[in-house]
Amino acid sequence: MLTLTLLIAVPYALAAMCGAITERSGVVDLALEAKLLFGAFGAAVVGHATGSPYLGLLGGVGAGMAIAALQIVFALRLGADHVIVGVALNLLALGGTRFLLQLLYGEGANSPPVDGFGSALLGNPIVWLALVAAIALPLAVRHTRWGLRLRAAGDRPDALVAVGVSPDRARLHAALVGGALAGAGGAQLSLAVGGFVADMSGGRGYIALAMVILAGWRPAWAALACVGVALAEALRIELAVRAVGIPHELAQLAPYVLTLLVLIVAGGAHGRPPKALGKR
């Protein structure tokens, strides 16, 4: 149960940490879903081509970073609205991964099987990555120059300009680190089940974003909130296995209902959003 929960939590938590630092730097990050999906896709393609899950993980990380870079180009360089860019990238990921599957393997829904890290918790480098990130990110955000610039870009970009640092560059760096994390989260999705399936992110990016807002844009707390979501999901799987009489269509909704309830109870204005979020 614990192992199951943590394995489920890893993609959520990595995506949430990506969302937390990207948003802290002032970029609205609705593209988490796209980063997860392309991360999963990249991991499956590279993993299949090389036969190594480690290289597959790298592929996922690269794909996540590529989406983050695309997001920054459109949102900052071209000045498009952040929310629209996020939604568009998610649409693109949904169609794009299927299109690429069709081109690469002549099939629109599944990739050929790839080797994963198995279901052991400690032998899985992605689990370790998530753990290290959950501890290191808050420290980095608070105590390093990178973190200071990231926070300044999100709260007072003009202050950053005054000391001669480009806020956009700080945002790019934050987004790339985040993209790498979310890409790794996506890699966990496809490597865990041994292949890429169309739309396999299934709304996890959005749930992760809700957790980011819930946690007041603090990466570690967001990751912790994701463990809560994962617990609800693991519980559903356990209940389904034991055939408790809850209809499966409704049991699947647990994370969504939970998120919505939390939003209703806590309110969306919980915590303090970065002041310059979505503005430039």
Binding site: L30, F74, L76, L78, G79, A80, D81, V83, I84, V85, V87, A88, L89, N90, L91, L92, A93, L94, G95, G96, R98, F99, L101, Q102, L103, G108, R156, P157, D158, L160, V161, G164, V165, S166, P167, D168, G203, Y206, L209, A210, I213, P247, E249, L250, Q252, L253, Y256, V257, T259, L260, L263, I264, G267, G268, A269, A276, K279, R280
Partner: protein, 379 residues
């Protein structure tokens, strides 16, 4: 003088749409090349096959009918500064309500009674979901993007559950048929699905256009979208406007159910109308949230998705799916691009107010990017 400014704005919006379409066409051509076909062959084939065939042409109109309604649902919310991703869930709720009402009516119900009842049920169901999103935003300041995504999933799950438990008949994924009186007449040739609900869509476009351009009410919702603080100062209740607009948006998305249930399938079916709500986002953005633009965008995207099937033997149909994302990205970027000059802000989109923070309201910097390297950009 005013009409000159208005024309300049309209020109800008048109420019943005044209640039976006050309950019999408260029990227689409690259995708076609990647699929190993010549763009010069695929595009004309797509147009010829789709527009030359009465059945496919009817399908374009059928898809455009649903898309125009969900597009309007996203567009009016966008005008009021809300991003309604929930059109999908609102439509799904509408489909269920519409089909259940239609099936519950006695078989002899006359059309004058049956059709309005079913249409009302669809709109009401959508409106409830829309109002819920609006209320959460207004009273709990929960971001509408998050809540509508959650509600999309929840509505889909609950509707499927209701379908499985009570509606679906004998192992199929189809519910009981609606009363014959509730069926809308078909308009298309050779069995295409276009039906009388296209009139509904046209009426909705006209109604939204009138409300938006000719009433104080429409003015209020656009002011709320552009500058909530200014709206509050002039005595507009931002909360009430947002709640009402989200309710109206939900009703519009719910209306699209008439196209699928009353006009085509005549019953509740699993997955009926799926994707139309999400695609409504692209429609609203491509149409620059103007009702006329939305109508045209609905036709363009309806053409694209039908055309993708028409040339499925040349390129994978996933290509047009991907193109829809490309179109939205291109519109977002082109919209920002044509708005570069200061002082010519268009009221059509709420996603435009841009301040550097360094010097709020200063005409020189308010529209420009912060470039630390170029000192003259700053005050």
């Amino acid at each position: 003088m005013r009409w000159l400014v208005a024309r300049a704005q309209t020109r800008r919006e048109l420019e943005a749409a044209v640039i976006a379409l050309l950019a999408s066409l260029a990227i689409g051509s690259l995708l076609v090349l990647a699929a190993g076909e010549a763009p010069g062959h695929v595009w004309p084939q797509m147009a010829l096959r789709t527009l030359g065939d009465p059945y496919l042409l009817g399908q374009v109109l059928y898809k455009a009918t649903g898309l125009a309604l969900t597009g309007l649902a996203v567009a009016i919310a966008l005008d009021a500064g809300l991003f309604n991703i929930g059109a999908e869930g609102q439509l799904t709720a509408g489909v269920l309500a519409c089909a259940v009402t239609g099936a519950a009516l006695p078989a002899g119900t006359p059309a004058v009674l049956a059709i309005p009842l079913c249409v009302l049920a669809a709109a009401a169901a959508g409106a409830v979901i829309g109002a819920l999103i609006g209320a959460l935003r207004v009273y709990r300041s929960a971001h509408e993007v998050i809540t509508s995504i959650m509600l999309n999933a929840i509505v889909a799950g609950v509707v499927l559950w209701i379908g499985n438990e009570v509606l679906f008949q004998g192992g199929t994924t189809r519910g009981p048929s609606i009363a014959p009186g509730a069926q809308l007449p078909q308009l298309g040739a050779s069995g295409s699905a276009v039906n009388a609900s296209i009139v509904l869509a046209i009426l909705a476009v006209l109604a939204v256009w009138w409300l938006r351009a000719r009433t104080t009410w429409g003015r209020a919702w656009r002011v709320v979208g552009r500058d909530p603080a200014a709206a509050r100062t002039t005595g507009i209740s931002v909360a009430r406007v947002q709640l009402l607009v989200m309710t109206g948006a939900g009703a519009l998305a719910g209306l699209a159910a008439a196209n699928f249930v009353l006009g085509h399938k005549h019953a509740f079916e699993e997955g009926l109308g799926r994707g139309t709500g999400f695609l409504g986002i692209s429609v609203a953005l491509l149409g620059r949230t103007h009702p006329a633009g939305v109508a045209i965008a609905a036709l363009v995207l309806g053409f694209l998705s039908t055309g993708g099937l028409a040339v499925a033997d040349l390129v994978p149909k996933e290509l047009t799916e991907m193109l829809q994302g490309v179109v939205v990205l291109a519109v977002a970027a082109a919209g920002a691009w044509v708005q570069k000059e200061p002082g010519t802000e268009s009221p059509l989109s709420p996603f435009r107010t841009r301040r550097t923070g360094a010097c709020p309201g200063c005409p020189k910097t308010s529209q420009k990017r912060l470039r630390p390297q170029r000192r003259e950009d700053r005050c």
